[in-house]
Symmetry: C2
Subunit: 410 residues, 2 copies
Amino acid sequence: MIAIGSQLKPNLKVDLPSIQQTFSVPFQYQVHFTHGLFQIHNPLLADVIDASSSHNPFSSGPKKIMVIIDGGIAKPDQKLLQQITDYASYHSDRITLTQAPVLVPGGEASKNDPALIEQLQRSMDAGKLCRHSYVIAIGGGAVLDMAGYAAATAHRGIRLIRVPTTVLSQNDSGVGVKNSINAFGKKNFLGTFAPPFAVLNDFAFLESLGDRDWRGGTAEAIKVSLLKDADFFERIERDATLLNRRDMVAMQHLIYECARLHMHHIGNSGDPFEMGSSRPLDFGHWAAHRLEFLTDYRIRHGEAVAIGLALDVTYSYLIGLLDKAPWRRILNTLTALGFELYAPELSSHLDDPSHPRSLFKGLQEFREHLGGQLTIMLLQSIGQGLEVHEVDFGHYREAIALLAELYPVN
Amino acid sequence: MIAIGSQLKPNLKVDLPSIQQTFSVPFQYQVHFTHGLFQIHNPLLADVIDASSSHNPFSSGPKKIMVIIDGGIAKPDQKLLQQITDYASYHSDRITLTQAPVLVPGGEASKNDPALIEQLQRSMDAGKLCRHSYVIAIGGGAVLDMAGYAAATAHRGIRLIRVPTTVLSQNDSGVGVKNSINAFGKKNFLGTFAPPFAVLNDFAFLESLGDRDWRGGTAEAIKVSLLKDADFFERIERDATLLNRRDMVAMQHLIYECARLHMHHIGNSGDPFEMGSSRPLDFGHWAAHRLEFLTDYRIRHGEAVAIGLALDVTYSYLIGLLDKAPWRRILNTLTALGFELYAPELSSHLDDPSHPRSLFKGLQEFREHLGGQLTIMLLQSIGQGLEVHEVDFGHYREAIALLAELYPVN
């Protein structure tokens, strides 16, 4: 209640207590693992959708689904489209395709085009999808982000089933609670927090990934293992050569553990929608984001994260926070996975942190993104991070020089 | 876990249990009541923003705020803009205006223009607002919906402080958890569930409302009282003549009780984001929405709700659900408030429920909006609703004829 001044007429005096609103919204979803999701006898998708009927009083008859497919999937040819159509026909007692699957551009391009969002939402409207219908998005992280944003804002949220097709999306972004598109030249400027209805990780999609995408996703697993789980790091360290040779069982384990730890972080942070001080697992990411930009995306996200991790663990070592042995183990594991750990763009304009092409400008951008105070994650031991709010440019210059010496570019 | 067929190579067998994600997101906000929010010595706004600092580790120094003002507010003249600028200067230790307040078109028009959303979000970007900054939206329900959508999707949610300026927004939409804009010719097609950071109800804005807007908002109070609180209905019944004469104390009480009941419904439904079977308080609304459309919005929302309520209580009476005495009390209260209870558009094409101009087509649209099954709220006594899933056109025709006879249009 606010006391008001005597200048008001008596009958305007506001003498009403404030009304407090307090509630909690429960969210739940499952991440399932399969191989050949759209093989006609694989019951997973139909079961996941059907299971929702029991607690949906509006449901009777088959559910409406609209399918969005990443055009960047290797061979998103008629075979996958035909498989999906056949799957829907076979399970027509439980699902109805409102239209043929929609192909969208793959990669970051899909997040830069507002007209694409409008086109997808126009299709959702034309197909009469409602809040009890399903959008199934099949693709890499960018397409899942974009399609997720389109679904989350139509009818204030049509149910989203994610089918991540890359290592990175299966173990990280695809199992989380965010969506986004780019706007005004800013990555992820628009988006919402919107947990998926379900995530269906189909390992068959990994077989057709190029080597760079296969490898790229493992950097996020290294990241999460270093902060959360030393045993998991040791497993990746042991499996590194196998992973580099594309061993599927080793990769399944890596994806599973990374997804599990990532979900545990979201679900147990006490702040899954990052409304307060909760922060995402962004170890190594200030430099990674910056390096993607500085190389005009020649270096992909996972590759940049590997370099960003190498930089921040080397810095941690140089300032005396991290011992030499674990520092070397981490770098060796990254190289065994096949990552380069240095790029020339790291070294330019280091003497002028505010230069538009300086790596260090990434620290300023990171601070602004966080909303004021700089927070950088460092490492004190494998499995144990430490947040700091100040960094020393001198030691970072030294770390960069060390990486340049240890890992010269061919 | 999904068993897979024997056609797969052994090393591709997927033998990983599903990962279950479960968490709850706590939300809280307060609705405050004041008079003269931007009078320089009124501490409310600065206090509300400052109070957030204690649990925000990123905060130091004044908070960034961007102000959006409904151009439809009577006299949104230099005085209000100057007041806001002066207020920010006076409280510059706690708040910083990132730019001059932005005037936007008032009314439904503001929800039909995607370019307006983009313009506002571009300003949020230019002003470097982050997730710990504030958008303050001042206006009627439509502008709050539109500005709320813009704020909710920028940076996945900039904090929103709503300053509702009409009876309808102060007692109903402005205290709730939704935002929206129109798209593809569909009202509220795009939107999110996004609780505000705070709601500041400033009664001073009511003084300049036209009579139709003053009256219009009371229909939602009648609606909520009929479903939730017989004592509240009796108070409105008693105050009806005072309210019609624009008595501010009676109106303050009406707004307060209506806001309180509305918030209680949202917070205690167990499903505030309407993910399952939870439904909004839409008594009288199937016909109201339809009538707004059929009259090309000549009849405003609150006026249409009054007629929609009159129709559904008359139907409830005719089918023997509601006694005659409460039925008459409700109709008499609505007319004492100054509402018309009949419009000629109610009667057209009643013999053809699927005719594009028939009132009954509204039942079909309502069913589709709900996602399959029709659910209509009727009344069995004052304070006690009853949901039904079927209606009888014959009794509805009779109800319309009765309203036409009792409340002929002049």
